[in-house]
C-alpha cells in the first residue's frame, strides 16, 4: 500500500500533505504506544469533507487496527467505560488496549455513517469491504445494507464475496432474519418495495453449501457448529411471510425451484407461499406451478383441485407470456399420467384447442403435437377427433370453470380442423394429422418449447429450394394488384 501511495504523492500538493501525514502517523502509532494519541488525528480524517481523504483514512484505519489485532493490542472482552479507565487498577498495557478498543468503536461508528453517505462515489470506492466486515459487527452492517430508502444492490454485490465465508454468511443470515422481523413489524406488514428489493438482492446471493461437513471456510477461526440450512430456511420463510409486490413474486418464483428449495431442510414449509401465489392468477400462478410441482412430486404434497385450478389458468395470454416454455413443459408433465380421468384430459384438450384459435404459430407448433400426444395417451379421448354421428352444436362450455362440467368429451375438435387452413405450412401440416388415426409414437415437443418467431423464420429462410415460383400477374404499380386491400384504405402521397 505504501509504495503506491508514494507514487501518487507527486500528483498534488494537498494530496501529498494528507497522505504523508497519515502515513507518518500510522508508522508512529504502530511503532510505539507512546504515540497512541495520534489515532485521533487519523479518525479526524474520516470525518473530512473530501472523499479521497475519507478513502485514504479508511484504508489507514484498516491497517492500524489489523496490526493491533494481530499483535493482541486490542482489548477483548467486556469493555469498561472510558471514564472508568483511570480509576480502575489496570496495568498500563491494559489501559492502552482499552483505549485502543474505544478508538476502534469510534472508528466503526464513523465508517457506518459513511455507508449512508450520499455521494455514491464514496460507497463504491470504499472498495475494501473487508474493513467494514472486520471492524464492525454484522448486525449493524446488515442493517445498513438493507436500507429502506436506497437501492443498495451495488454494495450488496460487493458484499457477495464475503458471503462465501461460512461464519460471515451464518451471522448475516441470522441478522437478516432479525432485521426483516423488526422492519416489517414496524411497518405493519405494508409493502416496502425498496427494502424488499434490497432484501431480495441480498438473499438471492446467499448460497448454502450442500454438505454441512464441508464448512471450513472461516473468516475468523471458530469452532462452533452452524446450522446453515435452518438459518437459511428461517430467513426465507420470514421474508416470504410478508406481502410482496407482484414483480417481487415473479423474481422469487423464477429462482425458487432452483436456488431456494434445494437448500431448504423442509421445502414443504413453502406451501403457504406457493398456494398463495398460485391463487393470485396470471403469470404468477404459472410460475408458482413449478414450485408446486416439486412439492407434489418429491415431497408428497396433496393439493386438492390442482387440475381444476390448472384448467382455470388456461387463457389466451398463456401463449404470449415470457414463461410459455416453462408452462408447457410443466403442463406436459402434469398431463403425462395415463391415470387421469378421460373427462379431465378431454377438457384440457378442448380448451387448448379453443385457445389455439388465437395463438401465434410458435405456440401452435407446440400446442398441436401436444394435443395429439394427449389423445394418444388417452385413447378414450379419441372421440374428440373421430365420432361418426350427425351434425350438432358444440356442446363444450368455454366459460365453465370446472373441467367436469364443461362437456368437452361430447365435443369435437373443429378448431383443429380450422387450423388446417392456417397460413403457416408447418402448422397446417400438424393440424392435418387429426384427419387420420394417430400413430402410436408420441411426438417430442421439447425442442419446440423455446422456439421464437424469428427462429421459425430462419428455418424457412435456410431451407433449400430448387425453384422459386413468381407471381403470375406482373405488377405495374405499388398499389395495384388483383387483390388490393391496402390501396383501398391508403393512397400514396
Amino acid at each position: 500500500m505504501a509504495p503506491s501511495a508514494d507514487s501518487n504523492v507527486k500528483e498534488e500538493n494537498s494530496q501529498i500533505s494528507y497522505k504523508k501525514d497519515i502515513n507518518t502517523k500510522i508508522g508512529r502509532i504502530l511503532q510505539n504506544k507512546k504515540h497512541a494519541n495520534d489515532i485521533f488525528d487519523v479518525i479526524q480524517y474520516l470525518q473530512s469533507e473530501k472523499d479521497k481523504e475519507i478513502i485514504f483514512a479508511t484504508d489507514a484505519c484498516k491497517r492500524i487496527f489489523c496490526q493491533l489485532f494481530d499483535r493482541g493490542d486490542l482489548y477483548v472482552g467486556d469493555l469498561p467505560q472510558e471514564e472508568d479507565l483511570m480509576s480502575g487498577d489496570r496495568s498500563a498495557l491494559d489501559k492502552c488496549r482499552i483505549f485502543m478498543r474505544h478508538r476502534y468503536n469510534n472508528c466503526v461508528e464513523l465508517l457506518l455513517e459513511n455507508i449512508g453517505h450520499e455521494a455514491f462515489q464514496v460507497k463504491v470506492s470504499e472498495s475494501n469491504m473487508m474493513v467494514y466486515l472486520f471492524l464492525s459487527c454484522t448486525q449493524t452492517l446488515v442493517e445498513h445494507l438493507l436500507s429502506t430508502k436506497e437501492d443498495m444492490s451495488l454494495l450488496i454485490s460487493r458484499f457477495q464475496e464475503f458471503l462465501e465465508m461460512d461464519d460471515v454468511r451464518y451471522y448475516v443470515m441470522s441478522s437478516v432474519r432479525d432485521n426483516i422481523y423488526r422492519v416489517m413489524g414496524r411497518n405493519k406488514k405494508a409493502v416496502i418495495p425498496v427494502y424488499q428489493n434490497n432484501v431480495y438482492t441480498l438473499l438471492s446471493t446467499i448460497n448454502v453449501p450442500s454438505h454441512g461437513s464441508k464448512i471450513t471456510n472461516f473468516l475468523v477461526k471458530q469452532a462452533c457448529k452452524f446450522e446453515h440450512k435452518r438459518a437459511f430456511e428461517q430467513m426465507w420463510l420470514l421474508f416470504l411471510k410478508f406481502k410482496l409486490p407482484s414483480s417481487m413474486y415473479k423474481k422469487i418464483l423464477v429462482i425458487l425451484h432452483e436456488s431456494i428449495m434445494p437448500q431448504m431442510s423442509d421445502p414443504t414449509l413453502l406451501i403457504d407461499f406457493l398456494s398463495a401465489a398460485y391463487d393470485i392468477g396470471g403469470a404468477i400462478s404459472l410460475l408458482a406451478l413449478n414450485g408446486l410441482f416439486i412439492l407434489i412430486h418429491k415431497h408428497n404434497l396433496d393439493y386438492p383441485d390442482f387440475y381444476k385450478k390448472l384448467y382455470s389458468l388456461l387463457d389466451p395470454s398463456i401463449f404470449h407470456v415470457k414463461y410459455r416454455a416453462r408452462f408447457f413443459h410443466l403442463v406436459n408433465i402434469f398431463l403425462s399420467s395415463t391415470h387421469l380421468p378421460a373427462y379431465l384430459v378431454a377438457a384440457f384438450v378442448k380448451r387448448f384447442a379453443r385457445l389455439s384459435l388465437t395463438a401465434p404459430p410458435t405456440a401452435l407448433l407446440i400446442l398441436l403435437p401436444f394435443i395429439c400426444n394427449l389423445i394418444r395417451r388417452h385413447p378414450s379421448c379419441r372421440v374428440l377427433i373421430h365420432r361418426p354421428s350427425s351434425p350438432c352444436d358444440d356442446p363444450y362450455v368455454m366459460e365453465e370453470e370446472d373441467p367436469a362440467q364443461c362437456h368437452a368429451l361430447e365435443s369435437s375438435l373443429w378448431e383443429i380442423k380450422t387450423l388446417q387452413k392456417h397460413y403457416h405450412p408447418d402448422v397446417a401440416k400438424a393440424a392435418l394429422k387429426i384427419n387420420e388415426p394417430l400413430t402410436e409414437q408420441e411426438e417430442d415437443i421439447s425442442e419446440m418449447l423455446e422456439l421464437s418467431t424469428f427462429e421459425l423464420m430462419e428455418r424457412e429462410l435456410k431451407a433449400e429450394r430448387k425453384t422459386i415460383p413468381l407471381e403470375f400477374d406482373t405488377a405495374t404499380e405499388l398499389l395495384k394488384s388483383p387483390r388490393e386491400v391496402l390501396g383501398v384504405h391508403f393512397s400514396l402521397e
Binding site: 389466451p316 395470454s317 401465434p360 403457416h424 424457412e460 405495374t476 386491400v485 391508403f490 402521397e493
Partner: protein, 790 residues
C-alpha cells in the same frame, strides 16, 4: 437404328426372294445355314435357327448401293442445274399438254398481280401490259400520223403507246372507257385519303375523350354536392403537416370516406378540402388514363408518321402532306404538353425506343393500303429532315445518355438515380437493364443480380427519407418486377436477407426491451413488394412464408403507443389480408390485432381487461372520444383533424373486420373466432356516436357473424382403404432381362441392362461401319479399274 434398318432389310429381302423365288432359296442347302442350338428350351421359339447368309449379304450390298454409293458418288459435287419449268422432268405429259399448262400458269401469274385494282371481270388482252383494244384504236392514229409524215413529233404518249411500258404506266390508261370509281386511285389521292382518315380518327378519339372528361366532371360535381351534405372527409395530407402527426400518416393518407356528424360546424372548410382533394384524385386518375391513351396514340401516331415519312418525304414536292403531318404532330404534342408538361423529352425517347418495332408494323399496313407506294419507296431518303429530327431529339434528351454503367455498389446506384424525376429514373433503369442484358456479355448476369438488391435498398431509402417518395417507388415497380422475373433466385435471396435482418433486429429489441416498435415504412413497402412479386397463396414459399411470419411477429409483439402505430398496424393488417385473400388461409394474429384495436375505441376498461390485452399494452384510450354522452368539444382545428383521423382509422378497422368475416365464413370455427369481436361490437362499441357509414359497417359486420355457432358434423377420420389380407398367391414380377443379374435395386438393374444394350449397339455399329468402308473400297477399285480399262 438397327431395328429400323432391319425393317427396311425385310422389305428388301422380300424383293430379293421374289426375284429369286423364295421357297427355292430356302430349300437350297447351299444357301441355308443352320444355327445349332445347345439345348432345347420348352416353349421358347427361336427366330434365328435358320439363317440365309447369302441372301442377307446380297441384301446388304443392295442397300449400300442404293444409299451409300449414291452419296459417295455425289460427294464433293454440290451444284447442279435443275430445270424448274413446269413438267420438265415429267415423262408422262405430252409436249402439247406441257405447253398449254405452262401458258395457263403464266397467265394466272400475271393476272393476279395486275388485276388487283381492275374490278371489272372482263378480261383484257394485253401486249406489253397495254390493252390490245386500245392499241388497235391507236394504230389508226399512228397510221394517219404516218400518212401525214410528221415524224419529228413524238409525244410522250405516242412513244409510250408505241414502245410499251411496264406496269408502272398503267395509270396512263385513258379515262374515258371506264367508270371513275372502278379506276384504281392515283397515289396522291390515296395518300390524301389516308391523311383524311387518320385525322378523322383522331378527331373522333378526341371528342370521345372530351365527352368522357365531361361526364367524369359532372359526376364529380354531383358527388361533391352529395358529399357536402353528408360529410367531411379525412384531413388532407398537406394539412397534416401543420399538425403533429407522424410522418407516415402524412404520406399514407387514409382514403376512406369516414363521415362524422359533428362535422357540421366545419362543413364549409371540409367541403373545400374535399373538393381539392377530389380534384387531385381525379387528376391522378385521369393522368393514369391518359397515360394509357398516350400509349395508344403514340402507337397510332407513330404508324402514321412512318407512313407519311416514308411516303411523303420521298416525294419532296408534296407540300400539303408535310403540312398535314405537321398538324398531326402538333395536335398530338399539344395534348401531351397539356397532360404531362415538360416530359416531352421522355416521351420522344419512348418513341424512339419503339421506333423499330413500329416501323415494321407501319410497313405492313402500307402493304395492305397501297401497293404502289412500295414501289416508289425504294428511292433514296431525303437526309435533311431526318437530321433535323435527330437534332431536335438529341437536344431534348441531352441530359440522359443511352448507356449506363451497371452500378457496382449501392452508392453508385444512388448517385445514378438520385437527382432525377421518377420517370427519368425508370428510364435510366430501363436503359441500364437493356445495356446489360445477360445475353450481351458474360458478367452482366451478376451485375443485374446485384442491381436487384441495390434497388430494394434504394426503395427502402426512398420510403424512409423525409418525406417518403412513394410515387417513385411505385414507378420503379415494373423495373423491379422485370428484374425479379429475370433472376428469381437473386430476387428471392435479396428479399429474404432484408426480411431476416429486420426480423432479427426486432427479435433483439424484443429480448432487450421486452417490446418492439412497429416496423418502419420501408419494411411495409418491402412487404407490399413481396406480395407483388411472389405468390402469397403458395402452401410454402421461400419468401412469402417468412414474410407471413414477419407480419405475425409484428402484429403480436409490437406495441401500439400512438396513432401512428395504429396506422402502421392497419397497414400490416391490410397486407396480411392481401396475403391470405386468395388462399383464404387463417391468420389468427390479424384478428387478434383487429380485436385489440377495437378495444382501444372503448372507454370502459372493465370489459377490456378480460381478453388479449397483452398484445396492446398501453390501454390508454387512443381512439375517438371517451365520453358517450357529451360531444367532444372541438377546441381547435387540430383537434378536429385528430378526431377525423381517428374516425377514418376506426372505419378502416371495421372494414377489415368485415373483409375477414367474408373471407373466413367457411371455417368450421367461424363463430368462435369472431365471438369476441361480436360481443365487443355489440355491447361496448360506442356506435351511437359514430357517423352513419360506420354505423352501417357496424351493423353489416354484426349481421355477418352469427349469434349461435352453426352446426357441424363431428370430426371423423378420413376413409381409408382397408388393408388387404395377406394372400398366398405368388407375387409375379416382370423379369426385364434374362441371363446375368447384376445390381440389387431396380435402378441398378435398369442401369446394367442399358449398359449391356449400349455395348451391343456399339459393336453392331462398328461392324456396320467396317462393312461400309469395305464396300466403298471395293467399289473404288471396281470403278478405277473400270475407268482405266475404258
Amino acid at each position: 437404328m438397327r431395328q429400323g434398318s432391319t425393317s427396311q432389310n425385310r422389305g428388301l429381302s422380300d424383293k430379293v426372294r421374289k426375284s429369286k423365288a423364295a421357297p427355292e432359296i430356302q430349300k437350297n442347302p447351299f444357301e441355308v445355314k443352320i444355327n445349332r442350338k445347345k439345348f432345347d428350351v420348352l416353349g421358347r421359339k427361336s427366330k434365328h435357327d435358320v439363317g440365309l447368309p447369302g441372301v442377307s449379304r446380297s441384301r446388304a450390298i443392295q442397300k449400300r448401293k442404293e444409299t451409300l454409293l449414291k452419296e459417295f458418288r455425289a460427294k464433293d459435287k454440290n451444284n447442279k442445274f435443275i430445270d424448274r419449268r413446269f413438267g420438265e422432268y415429267d415423262q408422262k405429259i405430252t409436249p402439247e399438254e406441257k405447253i398449254l399448262q405452262r401458258f395457263t400458269l403464266e397467265r394466272q401469274r400475271t393476272q393476279d398481280r395486275k388485276d388487283m385494282y381492275n374490278l371489272n371481270e372482263e378480261e383484257e388482252l394485253t401486249h406489253y401490259g397495254q390493252s390490245l383494244a386500245e392499241m388497235e384504236k391507236m394504230t389508226d392514229v399512228i397510221d394517219s400520223d404516218s400518212d401525214s409524215e410528221e415524224k419529228g413529233l413524238l409525244s410522250a404518249e405516242l412513244t409510250a403507246t408505241h414502245f410499251g411500258g411496264g406496269g408502272g404506266l398503267l395509270r396512263k390508261k385513258s379515262a374515258g372507257d371506264e367508270d371513275e370509281e372502278h379506276k384504281p386511285k392515283s397515289r396522291q389521292e390515296l395518300i390524301e385519303e389516308l391523311i383524311i382518315k387518320s385525322k378523322q380518327e383522331k378527331r373522333e378519339r378526341q371528342t370521345q375523350k372530351e365527352e368522357a372528361q365531361e361526364l367524369t366532371e359532372k359526376l364529380d360535381q354531383e358527388w361533391k354536392s352529395i358529399q357536402n351534405l353528408l360529410a367531411h372527409k379525412t384531413p388532407k395530407a398537406e394539412r397534416k403537416d401543420e399538425t403533429d402527426k407522424p410522418k407516415v400518416l402524412k404520406h399514407l393518407r387514409p382514403n376512406t370516406e369516414a363521415v362524422s356528424e359533428q362535422g357540421g360546424e366545419k362543413e364549409d372548410d371540409d367541403g373545400d378540402e374535399e373538393g381539392g382533394e377530389k380534384e387531385d384524385d381525379d387528376g391522378d386518375e385521369e393522368g393514369g388514363e391518359k397515360e394509357d391513351d398516350d400509349g395508344d396514340e403514340e402507337g397510332g401516331e407513330k404508324e402514321d408518321d412512318d407512313g407519311d415519312e416514308e411516303g411523303g418525304e420521298k416525294e419532296d414536292d408534296d407540300g400539303d402532306e408535310e403540312g398535314g403531318e405537321k398538324e398531326d404532330d402538333d395536335d398530338a404534342e399539344g395534348e401531351e404538353e397539356d397532360e404531362e408538361g415538360g416530359e416531352d423529352a421522355d416521351d420522344e425517347d419512348a418513341d424512339d425506343d419503339h421506333c423499330d418495332l413500329q416501323s415494321d408494323e407501319g410497313s405492313e399496313d402500307e402493304d395492305a393500303e397501297g401497293a404502289e407506294e412500295e414501289q416508289v419507296c425504294a428511292e433514296g431518303p431525303p437526309a435533311v429532315i431526318e437530321e433535323q429530327k435527330k437534332a431536335a431529339q438529341e437536344a431534348a434528351k441531352a441530359e440522359l445518355p443511352y448507356t449506363f454503367t451497371a452500378p457496382e455498389s449501392y452508392s453508385d446506384l444512388k448517385a445514378l438515380l438520385q437527382d432525377h424525376g421518377s420517370d427519368q429514373q425508370c428510364l435510366i433503369l430501363d436503359r441500364t437493364l437493356k445495356c446489360h442484358h445477360p445475353s450481351l456479355a458474360a458478367g452482366n448476369k451478376a451485375k443485374l443480380q446485384k442491381l436487384f438488391g441495390f434497388l430494394l435498398e434504394y426503395v427502402g431509402d426512398l420510403a424512409t427519407q423525409n418525406p417518403p417518395d412513394l410515387r417513385t417507388v411505385s414507378a420503379l415497380i415494373p423495373q423491379i418486377c422485370g428484374l425479379c422475373q429475370m433472376f428469381p433466385e437473386a430476387a428471392c435471396k435479396a428479399v429474404q436477407t432484408l426480411l431476416s435482418d429486420s426480423g432479427h433486429s426486432m427479435e433483439e429489441t424484443l429480448e432487450v426491451k421486452g417490446r418492439a416498435p412497429m416496423p418502419d415504412l420501408d419494411m411495409l413497402v418491402l412487404l407490399k413488394i413481396t406480395a407483388l412479386l411472389f405468390p402469397s397463396s403458395d402452401f410454402r414459399h421461400p419468401v412469402t412464408t417468412p414474410a407471413f411470419l414477419y407480419i405475425s411477429q409484428a402484429l403480436t409483439r409490437c406495441v401500439v403507443l400512438s396513432l401512428e402505430d395504429v396506422c402502421k398496424g392497419l397497414i400490416l393488417c391490410c397486407l396480411a389480408l392481401e396475403f391470405v385473400s386468395l388462399s383464404r388461409r387463417f391468420f389468427p394474429e390479424l384478428l387478434n390485432f383487429l380485436l385489440g384495436l377495437l378495444h382501444l375505441t372503448v372507454s370502459d376498461k372493465l370489459c377490456v381487461s378480460e381478453i388479449l390485452l397483452h398484445l396492446i399494452k398501453p390501454n390508454e384510450l387512443l381512439v375517438f372520444y371517451n365520453n358517450k354522452h357529451a360531444w367532444p368539444v372541438i377546441s381547435s382545428l387540430l383537434h378536429l383533424l385528430c378526431l377525423c383521423f381517428r374516425l377514418s382509422l376506426i372505419d378502416s378497422c371495421l372494414d377489415l373486420v368485415k373483409r375477414c368475416t367474408s373471407l373466413y365464413k367457411d371455417l368450421p370455427s367461424f363463430a368462435h373466432i369472431f365471438q369476441p369481436i361480436r360481443t365487443l361490437l355489440l355491447q361496448h362499441l360506442p356506435v351511437e356516436g359514430y357517423p352513419a357509414p360506420i354505423q352501417d359497417l357496424h351493423s353489416e359486420i354484426l349481421d355477418a357473424i352469427p349469434e349461435q355457432p352453426s352446426q357441424h358434423a363431428p370430426l371423423v377420420f378420413k376413409k381409408k382403404k382397408p388393408i388387404p389380407l395377406k394372400l398366398f398367391t405368388p407375387k409375379i414380377v416382370q423379369i426385364l432381362d434374362y441371363g446375368k443379374k447384376r445390381g440389387n435395386t431396380k435402378e441398378e438393374k435398369e442401369h446394367e441392362r442399358l449398359k449391356h444394350k449400349y455395348k451391343r449397339e456399339f459393336k453392331g455399329a462398328l461392324r456396320e461401319i467396317r462393312k461400309d468402308t469395305r464396300f466403298l473400297a471395293r467399289e473404288n477399285v471396281y470403278f478405277s479399274s473400270f475407268s482405266s480399262s475404258e
